[in-house]
């Protein structure tokens, strides 16, 4: 996959990703029009299918709302690359199928508007604009297995069927 970088700083919290006032819905389509609006009013108008959010440390801190990764997915974003992720956001992203990559080097090198390509299978990130290539921190084995079977929802479905 490849897309254009939307770059933000540290501690992008779930309140700015999707403010509580819109959390009376949990459907991607309802959330997407308000994604990041308190941080960057122009984001939703500019973002194209496949684009990539690049951010600093502690991305997704704050509220446990799963509406946050859903809003990002709904906006058409293909992946989030950050220096680190807040832990509930990390779990939620895996659970809803939003690809997240932890890679401080790629974050430092990328500028707003760069083109990146990502190979999710081996965690490789290429900065097509500047020419660098980076490897994201791999998921721990057990999490990788959950992702492989299609996420926690599918994992539980299979367990219930085998009961």
């Amino acid at each position: 996959m490849d897309g254009t970088v939307f770059k933000y700083g540290d501690n992008v919290d779930t309140d700015v990703i999707i403010p509580a006032r819109y959390c009376t819905s949990f459907h991607k389509e309802d959330l997407a029009p308000h994604c990041l609006e308190d941080l960057d009013e122009t984001f939703v108008a500019r973002v194209q299918e496949g684009d990539i959010i690049v951010a600093g440390n502690n991305f997704g801190c704050g509220s446990s709302r799963e509406n946050a990764p859903l809003a990002i997915l709904g906006a058409g974003v293909s992946a989030v690359i950050a220096k680190s992720f807040a832990r509930i956001f990390y779990r939620n992203s895996i659970n809803v199928g939003l690809p997240i990559l932890e890679c401080p080097e790629a974050v430092d090198a990328a500028k707003d508007g760069d083109r990146l390509s990502i190979d999710l299978h081996n965690g490789e990130i290429r900065n097509e604009t500047r020419g660098g290539s980076y490897k994201a921190v791999p998921f721990p084995d057990k999490i990788a297995k959950i992702i492989e079977v299609g996420g926690l929802e599918e994992y539980v479905r299979r367990r219930l069927q085998n009961r």
Binding site: D10, N11, D13, D15, V16, P19, A20, R21, C23, T24, S25, F26, D38, L39, N57, N58, C61, G62, S63, S64, R65, E66, N67, S84, A86, R87, I88, R91, N92, N95, V96, P140, D141, K142, I143, I146, G151, L152, E153, Y155, V156, R157, R159, L160, Q161
Partner: protein, 433 residues
């Protein structure tokens, strides 16, 4: 298996375990667990609220689940957008109500008998020392005050926990926070929390557990401990824990029918970091916008005009918090240029406000008392800030747009500063109004 048993033997002989490790090990059916290891562990209680339950219900059904592994281990609380702030919020609560009926969940809390989850659950005897608790609300870490391992999850995680009764956890390393010294007058759990988070930063404890210990913590009331553990997430922590002791035992004695097994750390437990604080001279703390870690002594922000003071939330929603704020107000009225919104956190706290005479005092002073709800804490309803308005809240987060318009500013503080500020109309110290 031989290999795993061997590993465990090794773990037991090499490493002492922290409280977090012990609770996770017990619930994973293991003798010991190593930091960063991923384990599946059985949960004792699953908390959901009106904002997070409806999505979980949808996912639960997609999983093909038709019953909750143990309805007694689930609690559903109406608190965020209730009494329903609009039709969409009403639908959320309705979905939760119907699900509770269908699944036979007795721990369903309806408006009027409900309250903010993190104040309600300990008071209802639904959380105990040694428990493994998960909740689809980030401040679920609050119950660490009772010596539980308690942490926030999302809606899909909650659906999975309902279906199979267990979840995966990465065993966190534990940061030991040792606190010494007697807290000065007016200074309490909230100031301690803001001070520690200010020191560690909002990601200082990312993926870690925080264990609060030392003489100050041993002397801290259960209300103060709940406030402290509530804010562990604001340093990025997975949970905040206080080892169960006499204060815990006293608190739990309200529920003689409950049995529990307290867990304490081994004397040779390994900590990933240690921080020591002496709080004998700790000034009252205020966190400036837009991060809870922007903590400064109150004197650095005194004089800042405030349009709205909010007293309450899961962080400072106990009777002792309202009493402290009232003491700081010293019988005076709310400043004509300021609004004071008082939110009793639960039905029981509401009754205590009435019976203690505080409800009458606040009302006569010019405050408005709202129903138990998260309301203004989440910028939901009952006191949302307008463009450029400034608030001083006893809540736990002051992110951009959290409490209303994205240009509004919220300062976080404890009840003493909140009371003084309501009277002065600007950020104030209770001894200087």
């Amino acid at each position: 298996m031989i290999c795993r048993d061997h590993q465990i033997k090794e773990l037991e002989t090499i490493l002492g375990q922290t409280i977090a490790q012990k609770i996770l090990a017990l619930h994973a059916g293991r003798a010991a667990v190593a930091v960063d290891e991923l384990v599946f562990a059985k949960v004792d209680m699953i908390l959901g609220t009106d904002v997070t339950v409806p999505l979980s219900v949808e996912v639960f059904r997609r999983m093909g689940a038709d019953r909750i592994f143990d309805p007694k281990k689930t609690v559903l609380v109406n608190d965020h957008f209730v009494p329903a702030k609009d039709m969409k919020a009403a639908e959320l609560s309705k979905t939760m109500r119907l699900f509770a009926e269908e699944m036979g969940i007795d721990n369903y809390y309806e408006v009027g008998r409900s309250g903010i989850c993190h104040v309600l659950l300990p008071d209802e005897g639904l959380v105990k020392p040694g428990d493994l608790i998960v909740g689809a609300d980030s401040h679920t870490c609050t119950y660490g005050a009772l010596g539980a391992f308690s942490t926030g999850i999302g809606s899909t995680d909650m659906a999975a926990a309902w279906a199979i009764g267990e979840l995966w956890f990465r065993v966190p390393g534990t940061i030991k926070i040792e606190v010494n010294g007697q807290l000065p007058k007016w200074v309490g759990g909230k100031d301690l929390a803001l001070h520690i988070i200010g020191h560690l930063g909002v990601e200082g404890a990312l993926y870690k557990a925080m264990e609060f210990t030392g003489p100050t913590i041993r002397n801290l009331s259960m209300d103060g401990r709940l406030t402290l553990c509530n804010m562990a997430i604001e340093a990025g922590a997975k949970t905040g824990i206080v080892a169960p002791d006499e204060v815990t035992r006293q608190f739990m004695s309200k529920f003689p029918e409950l049995s529990y097994t307290p867990q304490v750390a081994d004397s040779d437990a390994e900590y990933v970091e240690e921080h020591h604080f002496d709080v004998s001279d700790l000034p009252l703390q205020v966190a400036k916008p837009y991060l809870p870690s922007n903590a400064v002594p109150v004197h650095e922000v005194m004089g800042q005009q405030v349009h709205q003071v909010v007293l309450g939330s899961c962080t400072n929603g106990h009777l002792s918090d309202f009493q402290l704020a009232a003491d700081a107000m010293k019988g005076q009225k709310v400043n004509p240029k300021t609004r004071l919104i008082v939110i009793p956190s639960t039905k029981d706290v509401y009754l205590e406000l009435i019976r203690s005479g505080l409800a009458e005092y606040f009302t006569e002073a010019g405050a408005v008392i709202g129903p138990p709800t998260c309301g203004p804490c989440i910028g939901g309803h009952i006191g949302v800030l307008a463009e450029q308005e400034v608030g001083l809240y006893t809540t736990n987060r002051n992110f951009v747009g959290r409490n209303g318009h994205p240009t509004s500013l919220v300062f976080l503080a404890g009840p003493a500063v909140a009371g003084a500020t309501a009277v002065a109309g600007e950020i104030a110290h209770p001894d200087e109004i």
